[in-house]
């Protein structure tokens, strides 16, 4: 599944090492989405200004909350919550009710950040051993 940098909008393949090491812009936050949506997402995000991208990044961080090591890669499920523009959110309730994690595990990083349980943790993150 392709991944898109939250900060600069660059799209990477799932196997790209940039997802582990961070985007060329320095961000470690990525949305992941289905291959079929690539056209639509490209169209939507191409129009975003740098300022808008920055605001989206801040929004995403705000929603996830503190207690996340931002130096490690964080993959966000673009299907449950979609940030179309700063301040414009679309929420897939069906997926959220299914308690599908919003933030996915990444192999090398060895941790899962489940946005739902993130709220229960005041400090630190849920680590996968």
């Amino acid at each position: 599944m392709p991944h898109q940098c939250v900060r600069c909008g660059k799209i990477y393949e799932a196997t790209d090492k940039a997802i582990l090491e961070g985007c060329s812009c320095g961000s470690h936050f990525f949305f992941f989405f289905k291959e079929n949506d690539i056209k639509e997402i490209k169209q939507e995000t191409e129009k975003l200004t740098e300022q808008e991208r920055h605001e989206i990044e801040q929004d995403v961080k705000g929603i996830i909350g503190p207690g996340i090591d931002q130096s490690k890669p964080v993959i966000l499920d673009f299907e449950s919550i979609r940030v179309k523009k700063p301040g414009k959110f679309e929420i897939d309730l069906v997926k959220l009710f299914k308690r599908k994690p919003l933030v996915y595990k990444i192999e090398e990083g060895k941790y899962i950040i489940d946005i739902v349980s993130t709220f229960q943790l005041k400090h630190g993150m849920k680590e996968e051993e």
């Binding site: 414009k88 959110f89 009710f97 739902v116």
Partner: protein, 228 residues
């Protein structure tokens, strides 16, 4: 023999007069601006003497964090229940800061509100599994056949959480309780005006019925747990 009868007699009389159900977690769910916080405030006003649980506003998503009031005791026909009242942020599928700007809010504040409201939706859903019973608060002037309402109710059914549907804002001309009853025929629906305290007697009666259902459900769950 008489010694045995007396305690039973007292027990029977006492339970009839004053049955207390404890530790019920009662969640207030629904779309934004249905009147969840207004109803929660009405309850605390009626039973806790004016203590409000949260602020209300015409601008949607005023409640963006879970609000809890512990040990709310309500009495009805010589019975009493104590519950934890959990007022939740409104559940929505689309949150757009521009909708808040229509109310005169500045762009920066509106964007912050949108972000917090999105976080609130996640929080509401997260809390659902903790609830013993849920009151769905709907604006009776609005169309009840929405994705949000159907998804919330469908998920409550799946989780076997007892539900009471409240058709709020009956003080308004456009209010249509029958439409809500027709949309969710399998549930008890009670029409109220939380703002003006209209039909609260019937509402409290329905809350007692809801708690009874929840108690039955919890007993079954306990039994199943023991068998395992």
């Amino acid at each position: 023999m008489s010694i045995l009868i007396i305690p039973n007699f007292f027990k029977r009389i006492f339970s009839n007069l004053f049955t207390i159900e404890k530790h019920i977690k009662l969640g207030f769910y629904g779309p934004p601006n249905g009147g969840k916080t207004t109803l929660a405030n009405r309850i605390t006003k009626d039973w806790l003497g004016g203590e409000e649980i949260g602020k209300v506003s015409k601008i949607p998503h005023e409640t963006r964090k879970i609000q809890i009031k512990e040990k709310v005791e309500i009495k009805h026909k010589s019975r009493s229940i104590i519950f934890k009242l959990v007022d939740t942020p409104g559940i929505a599928t689309k949150i757009d800061y521009e909708d808040f700007m229509k109310f005169g809010m500045k762009s920066k504040d509106a964007k912050r509100r949108a972000k917090e409201a999105t976080k609130g939706v996640i929080e509401s859903i997260k809390w659902l599994d903790d609830m013993d019973a849920v009151i769905i608060v709907l604006d009776s002037t609005q169309n009840p056949y929405t994705q949000v309402n159907i998804t919330i109710i469908g998920n409550l059914v799946a989780r076997k959480i007892p539900v009471l549907v409240v058709a709020n804002k009956t003080d308004k001309k456009k209010s249509n309780i029958k439409k809500i009853e027709a949309a969710f025929p399998e549930y008890e629906a009670v029409g109220i005006s939380a703002k003006y305290g209209k039909n609260m007697e019937e509402f409290y009666e329905s809350v007692f019925n809801l708690v009874r259902k929840s108690k039955r459900k919890r007993k079954k769950k306990k039994k199943r747990g023991r068998r395992k």
